[in-house]
Symmetry: C2
């Protein structure tokens, strides 16, 4: 909508978001909570990845929490509860991304004294969340080989901003004729300093390496 959208209005929105994100960050630090913003398209495997890491962290006695962001529904939220972690469901209605304000309110509903690590599962799309930091330590982008080998070329901005990329569903690569090396190589060009980890969450492959990189 850039052609019919007031630029100064957009600037105000982004600045307001940034201020609240900084407050969220301070609050999380105060409670000693490490928070991760997990971004990715629908079906990239965000929920499964968080479940998988949460299971591993639980074994180590680490308390995990999750904020499930979705336009509608509570499928992911229920999965988190079933996984035995405290969670809050955030439905945005028609909004295509979480913003810091949603997180501010979600944090009020969580028992922060009983939490060491927080995963925020953002709305399933790779475009809109780019401009809205939430106050987390890191932004993790999850993509799936089924999304095609042109993923990075189509979304250079969000990949350039990523702290870490998870390339998931590598077990399906041969079925969809996608060469993961092309994605890895494209990503290394737009973001040479960030790691890209290949995973197959369904078969729990690559999780150890990812957790090492996330220092979890």
């Amino acid at each position: 909508m850039h052609e019919i959208f007031d630029i100064s209005m957009e600037k105000n929105i982004l600045e307001a978001n940034l201020r609240i994100a900084e407050d969220n960050e301070k609050k999380l630090k105060k409670y000693g909570i490490r928070a991760f913003d997990v971004l990715g398209s629908i079906g990239s495997g965000k929920t499964a990845l968080i479940e998988c890491i949460a299971e591993e962290l639980k074994k180590k006695g680490v308390n995990v929490g999750a904020i499930a962001g979705d336009v509608a529904g509570d499928d992911d939220y229920k999965r988190f509860l079933k996984c035995g972690i405290q969670a809050v469901n955030v439905n945005t209605g028609k909004e295509c991304h979480l913003d810091a304000h949603y997180i501010e309110h979600a944090l009020e509903k969580l028992n922060l004294d009983q939490m060491d690590v927080l995963f925020i599962e953002n709305i399933g799309n790779l475009v809109c969340p780019a401009d809205f930091p939430l106050g987390t330590e890191k932004r993790v982008i999850v993509i799936s080989v089924t999304e095609g080998d042109d993923m990075v070329r189509k979304h250079p901005i969000i990949f350039a901003q990523a702290d870490i990329v998870v390339l998931n569903k590598t077990d399906l690569a041969e079925y969809v004729d996608v060469d993961p090396n092309i994605i890895v190589s494209d990503f290394s060009r737009v973001n040479p300093n960030a790691a890209i980890i290949l995973t197959d969450v369904k078969h729990k492959k690559g999780i150890d390496e990812l957790m090492r990189v996330l220092n979890l």
Copy 2:
């Protein structure tokens, strides 16, 4: 951004879009062009589907055009050219959806006298394009079984607005443990009058039925 966004501003943007969409519709009708807005997440198979239908239409002597909408890059545009159809590339930069204004300008670049059917491939996400009609005859939503069986429950608004849904990559259903019947059944609940067609574009399955439903 609903909490820090001026509602009247949003209303103005949507009304401006609607006016331009009506102009686009008139222009397309004047040239006798049937236009389809093709929506779906990254990797759902929108480009491959358009290529596949275009091949079939070419055999019938129907002139096809395409507008390739992407945040960045020209991968899809090049695929359309290779397919032998006239095409325009629209890069939105940071915008998460096409709007009627983009289409107005794209139409100026196409030879409308030499076109019977126009496919507009929207930006790859299922949330944002919902509010922005482009002036097309029908809105076709393409989803893939790899996106999970909770797709419709997570996006009830856009599915309720769809004229037709294509459930693609049915060949991968067993690898991702997704039962297509759940998606079909969820969709029939939110949109009982619209058709949902199962396709496997890679192996050209379901295309005939889809073309029948689209009256192509």
